[in-house]
């Protein structure tokens, strides 16, 4: 029988960032490069840039992580948010002109993709998030920013603003080591099963689910409790998860009813399957085999008395 806590621990360990430290260093170097360019270009028109995304929140995994660079601009720096967004985009295009670096406009950020280097699994990618303080000199005290909503899937809302406070979002998760482990597990599941749910919903959902939790501290009990909570609440119309950076932004309300039901079903399916057969936990939370300890003889990966991952013989499957 599968030791669920041990398995989940191995899932987390094999997805740790230190396994890809060289690559992380490259990303960080590129981030510093952009930081310097931005400082040189905009000088006193902006406040010091800072890092956000999963890396800053310590919820990154080595299969999916974001090193976002937030650029807080002064209110007087641009006439409109769209001018800010376009200005930063055009500046980066100009700076990297003639190189193979790709610059593209995204929903609230500008995506920068550097050419993939030999030996790397993927190219270095960074998101630059330009934001403008709400009014003159407001940022220092509040850290509130208006982001430019460039466009959504349908091309609506272009140029509109979205108020947020990235610093508060980061602070919201700060020190929550226990919750972060569960967030990382669900993000690993999301990546492996190619789910489209927003990571932010998972983050806020896990923190809510484990608020006041005083049960068994093992990884599986905490994960199970979280999944049960989300199963029981996510599709409920009276359930809300507010962005700590903007109390008017309910991230669950932004999900479609269908997606909320799918999320509920997903949680229910995992719980039911594990109840049916504990070993099925491995189907939902897979170890990153690339970084699995090869000398581990604890038997993980092999069901007791069975021969691991070999193909089933034809006579094992019938039809």
């Amino acid at each position: 029988m599968l030791d669920k806590n041990k398995h989940l621990r191995e899932v987390l360990d094999t997805h740790k960032m230190h396994h890809v430290q060289d690559f992380v260093d490259k990303v960080k170097a590129r981030r510093e490069e952009i930081k310097s360019m931005m400082l040189e270009k905009y000088g006193t028109d902006k406040y010091p840039s800072f890092c956000s995304g999963s890396f800053a929140k310590h919820t990154a995994t080595n299969v999916k992580f974001d090193l976002d660079l937030v650029e807080p601009f002064k209110h007087s720096a641009f006439g409109t948010l769209q001018e800010m967004f376009d200005g930063v985009h055009d500046f980066l295009v100009e700076k990297y002109e003639g190189t193979e670096v790709e610059i593209r406009k995204q929903k609230v950020s500008i995506g920068v993709t550097f050419p993939q280097e030999e030996g790397d699994d993927k190219p270095v990618e960074l998101d630059v998030v330009p934001g403008r303080e709400l009014s003159d000199d407001d940022y220092t005290g509040s850290h509130d920013l208006n982001l430019c909503f460039n466009e959504d899937h349908w091309g609506f809302k272009k140029g509109s603003c979205q108020k947020t406070n990235i610093q508060k979002q980061i602070d919201h998760i700060k020190g929550k080591t226990s919750e972060r482990e569960i967030i990382r597990l669900l993000k690993i599941w999301k990546k492996q099963k190619q789910k489209k749910y927003k990571s932010f919903v998972i983050e806020l959902g896990v923190i809510r689910a484990l608020d006041g939790y005083n049960g068994d501290n093992g990884l599986w009990p905490r994960l199970k409790h979280t999944m049960e909570y989300l199963r029981d609440h996510i599709a409920d119309s009276s359930f809300h998860l507010y962005d700590p950076g903007n109390s008017g932004n309910d991230v669950v309300a932004a999900m479609s009813d269908f997606d909320r039901q799918c999320f509920k079903n997903d949680m229910s399916d995992i719980l039911n399957s594990v109840e049916w057969n504990e070993d099925s936990l491995e189907q939902f939370f897979k170890v990153n085999e690339k970084f699995q300890k090869k000398d581990d003889d604890s038997g993980f990966g092999n069901k007791n008395g069975r021969e691991g991952y070999s193909n089933p013989q034809t006579s094992n499957r019938f039809g």
Binding site: C262, N265, D266, D269, N272, S273, W276, N277, D279, S280, E282, Q283, F284, K303, R306, E307, G308, Y309, S310, N311, P312, T314, S315, N316, R317, F318, G319
Partner: protein
């Protein structure tokens, strides 16, 4: 017993203010109770008198009919009054005579108010009532499907039809025929207007009949089909009657059914569809007369044909178009309109093929290299009477026997070479991809690990669904592309309690196989198909799953 029934009937009539007994309640031969009643109307209209007959089985139904009759000979033009002047009521069920009669009389009163007093008509269209009696000791049924092109008033010509297997009803033979297509004489240059059956059904043809398309419905009171040939003179043009008269006299013997020429009349019904009615006209007693008529404004004479008086022998004629054939239940169009391939047609594959066909699939292809043996029959869709041979060829015949709308290509060689031989060779893979991507959905029921792996490697655009079961049909595993093999391998090696000791070893030289009955397998396959169809049509999120049979029943575990 008899007296008691009469007392209860009288008591119920006395209790209902809108019904009045006229005279006495009688009990006649065969314990049939009869009486007359007046049912009140409104607005000063005279009460309606009804003759009532209550049969011994009442309040139970008999042979699908109510065992009470309300008759009034003066109401023929009203809805739901049948040819024998009785009211066709679909009454509510009750176990006891008192409640049942009370309910039936209340419904009678409702009919009087709705149709007699208020003159309401129903929105729901009902086909003309056709009493199909045996003709020379046989029943005849004709099936037709929507034609490729619409018909126009005044059209006439010939139609092809073919024979199906004979049936039995009331100890008499039922000859059944399918209409294949219509060749117009009204539009001489037009091509055959085929019924939308699959192409292979059209090869059934062997008989020829005559058709006319009418501008009016051949009805009496809008409810009953006409009974006398003479009525046709009012419904058909001179050209139509002339054509029918001329052609019936020269129709070849080989096209004659039991001494009868088959004549169909078609007409439009409110749904926009065409309804056909078929009559069998004896060749030795054709109902025509011809008279010489002076052509108006000329000195020339013309011979005009008319139908003479005589009873029409109607056959049963049923619209079996796709929408009616599958009207009671079908898979969504996303599935039925798909081009589907099934690889491996053993127990699971043959059930999948039959389920798809019964649920409206139109375009199936099936592959299996294996032969059917008698031992396969007990837990698959194969049949003893089909003999032995390649599974795919028998299965295609079975599918054709089920649905006249399915096209099924079957082959038993080369597929393995095409798929497995392509791996590692760009041209071969391109060829295999091109072939397989022609299919929207591919069911891999082969349980061949190599096939599963190769299909993964080909990275097809088609949706592949891999299905297999464990011994004793304890679990059914279903995986969707892409990346099926990893999932299936892990499930079988790590999750299932697959008992590989207690397998079936046929006497002689054969591979051991699993043990499970038709029911064990079919209930899992049907449950799996239910969810697969929902997942493919977007009603459910697509997820690999395992169906597990435990003490609480079948459970689906989505992984």
């Amino acid at each position: 017993m008899g007296k008691e029934r009469i007392d209860i009937i009288r008591e119920v009539i006395d209790q209902l203010s809108f019904v009045h007994l006229v005279g006495e309640i009688q009990q006649g031969a065969g314990y049939i109770v009869s009486c007359e009643i007046d049912v009140d109307t409104t607005g000063g209209v005279e009460p309606l008198r009804w003759a009532v007959e209550i049969f011994p089985l009442y309040p139970m139904m008999a042979q699908g009919y109510d065992s009470i009759r309300f008759t009034n000979k003066g109401l023929m033009e009203y809805p739901h009054i049948m040819e024998e002047s009785n009211l066709c009521l679909h009454t509510n069920h009750a176990y006891d005579l008192h409640s049942k009669l009370r309910g039936d009389l209340t419904m009678l009163k409702q009919w009087v108010d709705k149709y007699y007093v208020n003159g309401e008509k129903d929105d729901h269209y009902e086909h003309l009532v056709v009493n199909t009696l045996p003709i020379n000791g046989k029943y005849y049924t004709f099936l037709f499907a929507e034609a490729e092109r619409p018909f126009k008033d005044g059209d006439y010509g010939w139609f092809d039809f073919g024979s199906q297997m004979k049936g039995l009803k009331n100890e008499k033979t039922v000859d059944c025929f399918s209409v294949i297509g219509y060749l117009s004489n009204y539009y001489p240059k037009s091509e055959t207007n085929n019924c939308k059956w699959r192409a292979a059904t059209r090869t059934l043809k062997g008989y020829v009949g005559i058709y006319c398309f009418l501008s009016k419905t051949p009805d009496v009171y809008g409810k009953f089909i006409i009974k006398d040939y003479k009525e046709l003179n009012k419904l058909m043009s001179h050209n139509q009657v002339k054509f029918v008269n001329d052609e019936m006299r020269k129709i070849e013997d080989k096209h004659i059914i039991d001494g009868h020429v088959v004549f169909m009349v078609g007409y439009s019904i409110p749904s926009g569809e065409v309804q056909w009615q078929t009559m069998l006209i004896p060749v030795n007693d054709l109902p025509f007369e011809v008279e010489k008529v002076r052509m108006p404004g000329t000195s020339q004479n013309q011979w005009l044909a008319h139908f003479t008086s005589g009873n029409i022998q109607w056959a049963q004629t049923i619209n079996s178009s796709y929408e009616h054939f599958f009207g009671r239940g079908a898979y969504p169009k996303r599935v039925t309109d798909s081009k589907i391939l099934i690889i491996g047609v053993g127990a699971i594959g043959s059930m999948v093929a039959v389920a798809l066909t019964r649920c409206g699939a139109r375009d199936l292809s099936i592959y299996d290299f294996d032969d059917k043996k008698p031992g396969n029959i007990c837990r698959s869709e194969y049949e003893f009477l089909h003999g032995c041979g390649g599974k795919v060829f028998e299965l295609s015949r079975i599918l054709y026997a089920i649905s006249p709308f399915v096209e099924c290509k079957a082959w038993d060689t080369d597929f393995d070479m095409l798929v497995k031989g392509s791996i590692g060779n760009e041209d071969g893979m391109a060829k295999a991809r091109e072939f397989l991507n022609e299919f929207d959905i591919v069911f891999d029921c082969s349980t061949d690990n190599d096939m599963m792996k190769c299909l993964d490697q080909l990275e097809l655009r088609s949706q592949i669904v891999n299905m297999s079961i464990s011994n004793h049909a304890q679990e059914l595993v279903c995986a969707f592309s892409p990346e099926m093999s990893g999932f299936v391998e892990e499930v079988y090696t790590k999750l299932l309690k697959n008992d590989l000791e207690d397998v079936y070893n046929p006497t002689g030289c054969w591979n051991p196989t699993f043990k499970a009955s038709y029911t064990d397998i079919a209930c899992m396959v049907q449950l799996a198909m239910k969810h697969i169809v929902k997942m493919i049509s977007g009603e459910e999120e697509k997820k690999n799953f395992v169906i597990v049979d435990d003490r609480e029943g079948l459970k689906i575990q989505r992984l």
